[in-house]
Amino acid sequence: MRFGVTVFPGTNCEMDTYHAIREVIGEQADYVWHQDRDLSGFDAIVIAGGFSYGDYLRTGAIARYSPVMESIAEFADKGGLVLGICNGFQILTEAGLLPGALQRNAHLQFRCGWTHLRVENADTPFTSAARKGQVLKIPVNHGEGNYFVDPETLAELNANNQVLFRYTTPSGDATPEASPNGSVENIAGIINKAGNVAGMMPHPERAVESILGSEDGRYLFVSMVEYLTGRASRV
């Protein structure tokens, strides 16, 4: 299993992601520079977090037109697994690979801290190692994670089970206070209709070792490995 981890000017979570995949999950990973077009040899792509192009214009708006994004769109079109984390989620919505948009946090504050996510759909390549309803402890780190989507698309997302995670209390209640950013219906992560492109604001790569407070981020990577290799492994 070989993961590609994208790097744009301003990306700053690529090393954590690389570490999580190689050292913790035990799979191969390589950086993919934003000018690269060749994704052959990769089984999955992770668009790592950060502030691509300084978040100028809109978050993800400039990165979305990088050469590598054309290749990622083709990769996704062929069914390849793509996970966008934080800025990666913003880039995927700007690119139209995921519905909706990420707006400034409702309270205007940058939020860096632990959140609890309820798994809403455990029947995807990104969440299959977890249980539906399970609450994962994974941190956020963003100023623009306020998920916005028009009511029609929201209804569609819910009807198709495309909401992957909602922000909840530790016991799993999706209260407004549990959300760090004011997202519509506490949405923290979604998946596309085809089920191979996912985006989430929280950072699973920062929650893969107990010494750092949580190992729950492993569920994401382990699920992807299981899906791609067809073999079950333990989180």
Binding site: E14, H107, N146, F148
Partner: protein, 103 residues
């Protein structure tokens, strides 16, 4: 021929504007009771080399849809006029960043 476009980007009606609400709150706390709402958008200047006014307009419209706005939450209007501005060459921050490479 050089044209200058002025592009005004606004949030769509119904899209929450946390920045606008914050400014609105400040305005109200200053004692302006006659300001029911404030919303914040963007103003973008774009210079275009084109053969005609129509050509420049078409190009700006395309840019507006493609990159200057996110059609999910924003709309835009623009004007285009011939320009005699002397433009200073920018150093191209993006270009420099892409040369840095990854270690």
């Amino acid at each position: 021929m050089l044209f200058k476009a002025e592009v005004k980007v606004s949030l769509k009606k119904g899209v929450l504007d946390p920045q606008g609400s914050a400014v609105e709150g400040a305005v109200k706390s200053l004692g302006y009771t006659n300001i029911p709402q404030v919303r914040i958008g963007k103003f973008i200047e774009v210079w275009v080399e084109a053969d005609s006014q129509e050509g420049a307009e078409a190009e700006v419209k395309e840019l507006g849809k493609k990159i200057l706005t996110n059609p999910i939450m924003e709309t835009f209007t623009f004007t285009v006029a011939p320009s005699t501005d002397k433009l200073v060459q920018s150093t191209g921050a993006t270009e420099q960043a892409s040369k840095t490479g990854v270690q």
